[in-house]
Amino acid sequence: MIPELGHFALILALLLALVQGILPLVGAARNYPAWMAVAKPAARAQFLFVAFAFGCLAYSFLTLDFSVINVTRNSHSRLPEIYRFTATWGSHEGSMLLWTFILALWTMAVTLFSRHLPEDMMARVVGVMGLVSFGFLLFMLATSNPFLRMEMAMDGSDLNPLLQDPGMVVHPPILYMGYVGFSVAFAFAIAALLSGKLDASWARWSRPWTTAAWSFLTLGIMMGSWWAYYELGWGGWWFWDPVENASLMPWLVGTALIHSLAVTEKRGTFKAWTVFLAIGAFSLSLLGTFLVRSGVLSSVHSFATDPTRGLFILIFLLVVIGGSLLLFALRASQVGLGGRFALVSRESFLMVNNILLLTATGAVLLGTLYPLFLDALGLGKISVGPPYFNSVFVPLVTPLIFLSGIGPLARWKQVNVPELAARLKWGFGASVLVALLLPFTLGEWKPMVSLGYLLSLWIVVTVAIGVRGRMRTSAGWSANFYGMNLAHLGVAVTVIGVTMVSNYQTERNVRMEVGDTVTVQDYTFRFDGVKDMEGPNYKGARGTLEVSRNGKPVSTLHPEKRIYTASGMPFTESAIDYGLTRDLYTALGESLDGGAWSVRLFHKPFVVWIWIGAVLMALGGLLAITDRRYRTSRKKGSAEA
C-alpha cells in the first residue's frame, strides 16, 4: 500500500511539475498575472508530493518491505537501522528520487526567500525549475521507478558494503544540494534571457543562491574525498575517477560563476559571460548525472547500467542544455556592453581567473571523456590517469591561486600599479623567503614544496593586508568581504595539506607476524595479531596495532577485514589515528601463512588540512550569503518594479 501511495504521489508531482513549467512561463511571456500566480502554489504542492514519495520509499526501506524490488536489491534484514535509511538513496532509483526531492526543496526555498522578486521574474524562475523537475520525474517513472514490486523475497541482497558507512548518511544529500542547487542560478539565467533584462539586479538576486549551492558542493566533494580516503583502504584522497571529475567540473565552473557574478553585480559588465557560466555550471551537473547513470564510463561509483536510461538522459540533456545554449546564442548578442575597465584592474584579474578556471574544467572534461572519444572513433581503449590530470592541473591552478591574492586588493576599473606594488612588496618578499627556507627544516628541499608554501603564504599575507586595510577605513562589517577572505584562507590551508602529503608521505607494505614491529617516520607499529569478530551483517578479522613514539604509547589501532554475509564481498576497513600534523593510517591486506598478515602502514603529514581548507571555503561562502546587501537590495528591487 505505502509503495503504491509513493508511486501515485510521483505521478501527481509529475503533473504538477508540468503545470508549474508551462503556465507561469506562458503567463510571463503574455503578461497574464493569473497564470504567473500559479508558479508558487504549484511549486509548493509539487514539493509536498515529492517529499511524500521520498518518505514512502524511506518507510519501505525502514520496514524492510521485500516486495519492493529496490528494497530487496539494496537492503538486508540484518542491515543496521541507520543504513536501512541511507539505503533509500543507495540505489540508482533512490538517488534519482533524492535528486528530484532536492530540486523541489530548492524551488520551495526560492518561493520562500526570494519573495521580493518581481512577479514575472519569479514566474520564470519557478517555471524553468518546474520543467527540469518534469524531466527528472518523467525519467524516474519511465525508466527507474523506485517503487516497482515483485513477488515477496525472503531476504535482500544487502547494501553495497562501501555505502555502509556513516559518511554515506550525509555525503550524497550534501553533494546533491550543491549539484542541484546550481539549477537555481541556471533558472535565473534562463529567466533573464527570456525577459531580456540582463542587468545588475539579476546578478544580485542570483548571487546568494549560487554561493549557497557552491558551498554545499564544496562540502559534498570534501566529504566524498575524505570518505574515499578512509574507506577505500588505499589512503588516497583524490583518484581522478570519472565520478569525482563529474563533481569537480561543476565546482570549477561554479567557482568561476561566483567571481563573474561579482563583476556583473558591481560593474554591470561580463553579462553574457555570466549567463553562459550559469548555464554551464548546471549543464555540467546534468552531464555528470548522465556520465554516472548511463554507464558510458567505467567507475567505482557506477550502478547497474541500462541503455534505455542512458538514452533518455541523453535526450533530456539535448533538450535542456541544447535549448539553453540556443536561447543564449539568440539573446546574448543583444546584451549591451557594461562598464569599461583598464588592462590592469580587478575586472581583468577576475577575467583571467575565469579563463583559468574554464581551461581547467576543459582539461578535466577532456581527460574524463578522452577514453570515450577514442573508443567511439574505434581507435582503441585507453584510460587516462592521474599523471595527465596532475600535469595539466598544477600549472593552471598555480597562477589562479597567485591571482586570488592580488585580485581582492586591486581596484575596480583601473589599478594604480605602483601603489599596489608598494602595498604588496614586503608581503611578497617575505612569502618568497619563508617558502624557500621552510622546506629545509623538513629535511630535504623540494621545488614543489617551496611552490606550495609560496602560494599558501601569499594568500595568507594578502588576506592580512586586505583585512588590515579595511579595518583602517572603518568601513564596518561586511559579511561578503570577510566571507571571501575566509574562503581564500581555506584555499591556503588546502594547498598546505596537498603539498605536504604529496611530497612527504611514507608508505610501507609489510608482512607482519604477531609481535613484529615496523617503524615509519618516528612511529613504531607493533602487530598484536588478529582476532575473529562478528558484526551484525558481516564476519571478519580485527587486527590490533600498538603505535608508540620514542617508547611512549600513541594509540591502538584496529584495522579490519570484513566479509559481508549476504553478498560475500570482502572488504577492508582501515583504522586511522587522526592528527593535525599527521595521520597514521593502517589497513589489513591479505592473511599470509603462519599467522602473518600483510599490513599497509602510512604516515600522512598534514592530510587533514586538505579537508579543513575545504570546510573553510564552504563556511566562507555561507558567511557571504548573510550579507545585508542581498536583503535590502531585494526590497529596493520590488519598490522599483
Binding site: 564510463l297 538514452l311 541544447g322
Partner: protein, 174 residues
Amino acid sequence: MKRFLIPLGIFIVLVGFLAVGLQLNPREVPSPLIGKPAPDFKLALLSDPAKQLSPADLRGKVWLFNVWASWCASCRQEHELLLDLSRQGVVSIYGMDYKDQPGDAQAVLNRYGNPYVETVVDLDGRAGINYGVYGVPETYVIDKSGIIRYKHTGPLTRESLDKKILPLVKELQQ
C-alpha cells in the same frame, strides 16, 4: 551572434560522441593474452587434491576456462548457464577456484550442481595473476593448441554465449 553559437556547436559534437558511447561497453577491456598461449600452471584438483592438472593436458581440444569462487556472488548468476552448457555437451568447461577455501567451493558445487569437468584450486591466486584475473568471474576460450582466443569478464549472459562464445567455439572445433 556567430560567436555565441560556438558553445552550442561544441555541445552538439559532444552529444554525438556520447550517443556513440552509449552503444559501447567501457568494461570490455581487450586482454593482452588474446592470441597468446594460455599461461601454464600445475594445480591440484578440487575433487582429488592428490591429482594435478595443467593446460598442457588439454591439448587437442577446445575448452572454456572459467574462474570462479564460492565467495563470489555474481558467479551464482552464471551458474545456471554453465550447467546448461555442460548438459548440452558442446564444449568442456574447466573451472579454477580462485582464492577460496576448497571446502566452501565443494559445498557450492554439491548444492547447485557441477558444470565443470574438473576444477583446479588456485589457493593463493598466483595462477590467477598470470591470467590477469581482475574480477571474478572470468571466462576464457582456449583452442586446440592451447592459445587463448577470447576472454569474457563478469558473469556470462545468454546473449554473450550465443553471440560470441559458442560461435567461436564451433569455429575453433572445426
